[in-house]
């Protein structure tokens, strides 16, 4: 029982962490609240389903094709629908909501509303202290940690990472120091959508694929971002596992828990915010909150 909870919470936590960090990156750099972020995750899942089930390729091929495709799609959407109206924050918000609805409807048209599934990379499971651990779960967890580590390296060690961090801190000054602000925003959007695509790739064998799968992760992702502190990657990381654990514990321990899992996790977020309004790892800027 306890092991089941831990395994589920680690898997959920990794999903939320990957999604939340992508969301928080593009928010920090360009002040874009990208509601369509999890919609890209959904489209990536469908892309992998298409390649593995319909065209019959190996899941690895599916991942390798899907992630660049989704990144390209994200960049096109950014250029066409978000970039021209970036000064109007409310308009950007609605535009991304409409984009998410449009993706949902397109997927509904192509694949209908059926629940679909994707084969795991490695079939089978092993037992640890009486709890079943599927190999796919192990792969998902390790892949999530690897990609988060790689992202941290990119942000902390490279020149591009420096540009992204400084633009997030102060857009105008970064621009004055000779960083091309709109290009940094564009690259960050690419990284952010690629992260969403990657999440789709590693998580999809564990869940079912359907056109409405973006809604629940969207809410949890936003809760994670708020709980961890907007723009704080370390915060998002820990908050994701905290909320993932809260969700898993409620599902396993309380009767009717499946209905209450969202409620309890979000109540945890609100309770923490009451004590620390800037989130767990956020820094309180007078301007921002």
């Amino acid at each position: 029982m306890i092991l089941d909870i831990i395994i589920t919470s680690l898997i959920n936590g990794s999903t939320y962490a990957l999604l939340a960090i992508g969301f928080s990156l593009i928010f920090g750099v360009a002040r874009i609240v990208n509601i369509a972020h999890t919609a890209f995750f959904m489209v990536a899942s469908y892309c992998i389903y298409m390649i593995t089930r319909k065209l019959g390729y190996h899941p690895i091929v599916g991942m390798l094709v899907a992630i660049p495709l989704i990144t390209l799609l994200g960049l096109i959407c950014y250029k066409l629908f978000i970039d021209p109206i970036r000064e109007h924050e409310a308009a950007v918000l609605i535009s991304t909501i409409a984009l998410a609805i449009a993706f949902q409807e397109i997927m509904l048209l192509i694949f209908t509303g059926d629940y679909l599934s994707v084969p795991a990379l490695i079939q089978g499971y092993f037992t640890v202290f009486g709890a079943k651990v599927f190999y796919q779960q192990l792969i998902t967890f390790i892949a999530a940690l690897v990609i988060l580590g790689a992202l941290r390296l990119l942000l902390m060690q490279t020149k591009l990472g420096l540009a992204i961090r400084s633009t997030a801190q102060d857009r105008e000054v970064a621009n004055l120091m000779g960083m091309n602000e709109s290009r940094v925003a564009m690259i960050t959007m690419g990284i952010s959508v690629a992260l969403a695509g990657f999440t789709g790739a590693v998580v999809v064998p564990l869940t079912t694929v359907n056109p409405f799968m973006w809604l629940h992760p969207l809410i949890m992702m936003m809760a994670v971002v708020v709980l961890g502190g907007l723009g704080s990657i370390k915060g998002s990381f820990f908050a994701a596992y905290i909320l993932g654990f809260a969700e898993a514990a409620v599902v396993f321990l309380i009767p009717m828990g499946a209905f209450l899992k969202g409620s309890v996790a979000l109540s945890v977020m609100i309770l923490v915010l009451l004590i620390r309004p800037e989130g767990l790892f956020g820094v309180a800027f007078e301007e921002e909150r």
Partner: protein, 346 residues
């Protein structure tokens, strides 16, 4: 007798000098008259149904604008107020047998309470934090609704409520009159001193506090007022559809109201109302292609926002009216000189 004649004359003077000089005011007048006179022309129950729902959602959208547009407290969980209004009206009607004229206002009071409960923790948050946090509240309530099915009806909701009225036309008049009255009240609130303080809180909260105004109180007031109007919309919806179900609390409901308001232009009250009366029938019109309905809807919104990011109705208003450069009074775009101070308009 003389007094009556005086008031009649004054009424016509106001109509002539204040309403007929500006096309936007004439449009508002026409909108009122068309809505009120429509049942005389047609009795089509389908059309009336669309307009009743549009009126209910117009109250809902305008109440979002009152809170989020005016005070800048971005609320992403506005469905909470709608859902609380609908569910409390439904429960009062079902379990206590209070008729609609009592249960709807009481349900709205329930929504005011919800506004207080949400407003107090949210006072400490600002901007995007607030938007993302408020998103959580309707979902928490939805989990509770699912968890206690013997009181709330669970997934199926509470059905079989009393009708608002027997016939569709009377239903129509109730919904439209309530909408017109409440939206006028909201418009007046935003024009009053309170409205000015709301504006100021959005622009610079620290400056407002520095001028000796208790911003906490005004922000809570905004939450309560907005919750009240949204709660009435929710109660009307529950009694018109004769069911209060979890769809009133869904995320899509919260997003829908943001879409309507931003599409129509925020910080106006009339913007969201107009947007609902454009977008809601449009969504019904797309019904001839059921699969493409939501897709077309999303595309229309994206395209319109690309070309007029401040909203559709303010864009139209700027096209047909100009502001006098000297006295800041609005004039028809065709006028060469200002109607008040006679300065040249260019």
């Amino acid at each position: 007798m003389n007094l009556i004649r005086y008031y009649i004359r004054k009424f016509f003077t106001i109509i002539k000098t204040e309403v007929f000089v500006l096309p936007s005011r004439m449009i508002v007048l026409l909108f009122f008259l068309t809505l009120l006179a429509l049942p005389l022309i047609t009795n089509d129950p389908y059309l009336l149904r669309i307009l009743i729902l549009a009126s209910i959602f117009a109250i809902f959208a305008a109440s979002w604008d009152l809170l989020s547009g005016f005070t800048g407290q971005m609320n992403f969980g506005h469905a909470l107020f709608f859902g609380v209004g609908a569910y409390s009206a439904a429960m009062l009607n079902q379990h206590v047998h209070i008729p609609p004229w009592g249960s709807i206002p009481l349900g709205a009071l329930g929504a005011v309470l919800a506004g207080l409960i949400v407003g107090i923790p949210c006072l400490r948050l600002r901007g995007t934090y607030l938007a993302l946090t408020t998103l959580a509240f309707p979902i928490i309530l939805m989990g509770i609704v699912f968890a206690i099915p013997n009181i709330t009806g669970g997934e199926l909701g509470i059905s079989g409520l009393d009708r608002l009225a027997r016939s569709r036309v009377v239903n129509y008049y109730i919904a439209v009159l309530v909408m017109l009255v409440l939206c006028t009240i909201m418009w007046k609130i935003t024009d009053s001193n309170i409205g000015i303080i709301f504006h100021a809180i959005r622009e610079d909260e620290v400056a407002v506090r520095a001028s000796g105004i208790n911003t906490t109180r005004y922000k809570l007031l905004a939450f309560c007022l907005s919750g009240f109007f949204a709660g009435i919309a929710g109660g009307l919806y529950a009694h018109f559809m004769r069911i209060a179900d979890p769809s009133t609390l869904e995320v899509s409901m919260s997003f829908q109201v943001v879409i309507w308001s931003v599409f129509g232009g925020v910080v106006t009250i009339w913007g969201p109302v107009g947007a609902v009366f454009i977008l809601f029938p449009l969504l019904e019109f797309f019904r001839f292609l059921p699969e493409f309905r939501m897709l077309l809807f999303a595309i229309v919104i994206i395209l319109i926002l690309l070309f007029m990011p401040q909203g559709l109705l303010p864009w139209i208003r700027d096209k047909i009216e100009n502001e006098c450069p000297r006295c800041k009074i609005r004039n028809v775009a065709t006028r060469k000189s200002c109607r008040i101070c006679a300065t040249s308009m260019h």
